[in-house]
């Protein structure tokens, strides 16, 4: 496809379970970003990848959150031992290179019961 895709589009899980969220960036985009959009916090930066490395992990809220990117393409955001406050929309974006315009995916809506 032409745009950034994310899966699943919706995820409902029980407190304490682990979840994995996937992002497929636009083909050829070297930079990939994760953001979280929640009612209480608005849009927050989580982590940024250039290629497969993550120079900036400053936005990850706790050590329960981790992300990886393989092959300079797909990225997975993993949340371990989910808590109710993790409920939010997780948005992924990609750009052609660092400092390029960020193009966003539709997001994954996570609900932790």
């Amino acid at each position: 496809g032409a745009g950034v895709s994310q899966s699943p589009s919706n995820k409902v899980t029980e407190k304490g379970k682990d979840v994995e969220l996937r992002c497929d960036p636009i083909s050829g985009h070297t930079a990939l970003y994760w953001y979280r959009q929640s009612l209480g916090q608005g849009l927050e930066f989580l982590i940024y990848f250039q290629g497969n490395s993550a120079p900036d992990k400053s936005g990850l809220p706790s050590d329960r959150f981790s992300a990886e990117r393989t092959g300079g393409s797909v990225s997975t955001l993993t949340i371990q031992r989910t808590q109710q406050e993790d409920s939010a929309v997780y948005l992924c974006a990609s750009s052609f290179d660092r400092a390029g315009t960020q193009y966003f995916g539709p997001g994954t809506r996570l609900l932790v019961l």
Binding site: G42, L43, F45, P55, A93, R98, F104, P106
Partner: protein
Amino acid sequence: AQSVTQPDIHITVSEGASLELRCNYSYGATPYLFWYVQSPGQGLQLLLKYFSGDTLVQGIKGFEAEFKRSQSSFNLRKPSVHWSDAAEYFCAVASSYNTDKLIFGTGTRLQVFP
């Protein structure tokens, strides 16, 4: 630290009326500024951006924004609103040396009445 303020949480306008959405930023140097729009169930779409040069920036869908350094503002405008413009609008800022990290405002929800 960088921050963005969008003072209006919710704005309602009639179709055909003009629109101005306010955005104020806090940053010591010249920032990179962006406006994104989010329609229900959709991701964020870039409307326009300002990096340098002409302070009046034209974007897609007939939107424009003006960078005013003296007021630390980057307000979004449209002369005539269409019903399809109903959405949530986000202003964002990035520093010139760390454009990877966008700092977003809390958003303004626009409602358009026929």
